[in-house]
Amino acid sequence: MEFGPYLIIALFEGALTSAVIALTAVGLSVVFGLMRVVNVAHGEFFMLGAVFTWFITWNLGLNPTVGFITALLLVPLAVGSLATLADRLILNRLDYDPERTIVATIGLLYLIQQSTLMSYGPDARPVEPPFNHRIALPWIELGESGWQIYWPWGFGITTYKLAVILAAIVLLWILLRLLARTKYGLLIRATQQDSEMALAFGIPVSRVYAIVFGIGGGLAALGAVLIVPIRQAHYLMGGEPLLLSFIVVIVGGLGSIPGTILAAILIGMSDGLISVFFSPTLAKIVATLLVVFVLIFRPNGLFGKNQQ
């Protein structure tokens, strides 16, 4: 296959990675932006999303499409509820102290991970996608008799991957609209700017925190539901999305949702391109180096505000 089709495939894989990282990282960013809590257990909410999806699609006797749609609706709610419970039982009692909540969420990470290992087991388990057709793509090349269309072998995309990218775009658009246009979005934005004044104006800040922590967990789970038919469910799968989410949130600017989305596109695309043309390991090295440069030259990220 020529360089051009390879590049298109790399960009497409990059768009898929960007879509899933954006959903997951926005959850982390919303929580940090509002509560100043660095949620080290965020990747475990992602993992739970994948494991719960496997459970619903394999154990409830539903056909793959119905099972997947059920998971898409229920799993983010279930994981979001667990996250809210974690907020009430742990973070709220620590008064959202930045240092103590880091230690507490490390504990939560191991609690969720090891509970999953004990109940679900160590195996990676597949989830069948609800649909997965291959769309072959054409390529145009200048030949001896002028421009010619031909169909390179292996050059194509799958409908499921395309659907994941579109779904992530729609979901992020809905989230941004909810934050910008609804009463609850307004309360969240006000609390994010000045939580003490929010209290003085009758906003139940601790309830807002609990809901937002639930939304953060739910978004991570949503990313996992979408990606698990491509990558399988495993109890250790939370590490990579956590690392990528941290990279994206730092590059984009702590607490900035537009910055997080832009950084997810940047990191996802570079991951796709470098993975296809070189190696996935090099892609992670480049992403981590990017964080180093951002921290040196723009410590608050591309869109972050001064956190002092």
């Binding site: 006000a190 700017q193 003490e196 003085a200």
Partner: protein, 231 residues
């Protein structure tokens, strides 16, 4: 009537208010005066439930406020215009007002009342509040608090850093609010403002009640107030 009775407040191990007592009657302006660091802003925060009181009582029309969660207190009829305004700076003027209205729940008539007091805000509804001038920001800070339709308004140094015309407007609005039945606890350090506006002055020093002066005493011997303020 707002009654503060022997209130003590601490920041961790450091006690900052000691047995503070005062009352704000209906339609009164009570001025809370004292030098920087005396505890005036701390008392406002304690009234709003933003700082826990270690002992003493705060009651509004007989209802105890001290044990209520902070977010419930504004619904009982107390609103704060904080020192330095503390607007939700990335929100628009309209959104800042909406925050107060969501809590209070009564929109149209409240907004009409507020736009009568501050017509300029109606023209700036879509403007982000951080881009307003200092005077407009102070108007918005007051308007946002008035969206709660408070019985008692806590005004913490509302004219600080404003140009003279804006100071006049804020003082005139304060008098207008009192005529409309709102009680006001005014934190103020300017001698002329205290003389012009207040029915009573409570002077605190190092977190303790030092002196309470009523209007006749103030008019008779303003030197006492000047001495207390260090003017």
């Amino acid at each position: 009537m707002l009654i503060i009775d022997k209130v003590n407040v601490s920041y961790g191990p450091l006690q900052v208010l000691f047995d503070i007592s005062l009352q704000v009657g209906e339609g009164e302006i009570v001025c809370l005066a004292g030098r920087n660091g005396a505890g005036k802003t701390t008392l406002c925060k304690a009234i709003m439930g933003l700082l826990p009181i270690s002992s003493g009582d705060i009651t509004l029309d007989g209802e105890m406020l001290g044990s209520l969660p902070a977010h419930v207190i504004p619904k009982k009829g107390i609103a704060l215009v904080p020192q330095g305004r503390r607007l939700f700076s990335e929100l628009t003027v309209g959104e800042n007002l909406e925050i107060g209205l969501i809590t209070q729940g009564e929109e149209a008539s409240t907004l009409e009342w507020i736009f009568n007091l501050f017509p300029r805000l109606e023209e700036r509804l879509e403007q982000v509040s951080s881009t307003l001038s200092g005077g407009e920001q102070q108007m918005l800070a007051m308007a946002r608090a008035l969206c709660l339709k408070p019985k008692v308004l806590l005004l913490d140094e509302p004219t600080e850093g404003l140009q003279p015309s804006m100071v006049e407007l804020i003082r005139a609005t304060t008098k207008q609010l009192v005529k409309e039945g709102v009680s006001i606890l005014l934190v103020e350090q300017k001698f002329e403002a205290i003389i012009e506006l207040s029915n009573r002055v409570v002077i605190i020093e190092n977190g303790r009640n030092r002196l309470i002066l009523d209007k006749p005493s103030l008019e008779e011997d303003p030197v006492i107030l000047k001495q207390a303020l260090g003017v």
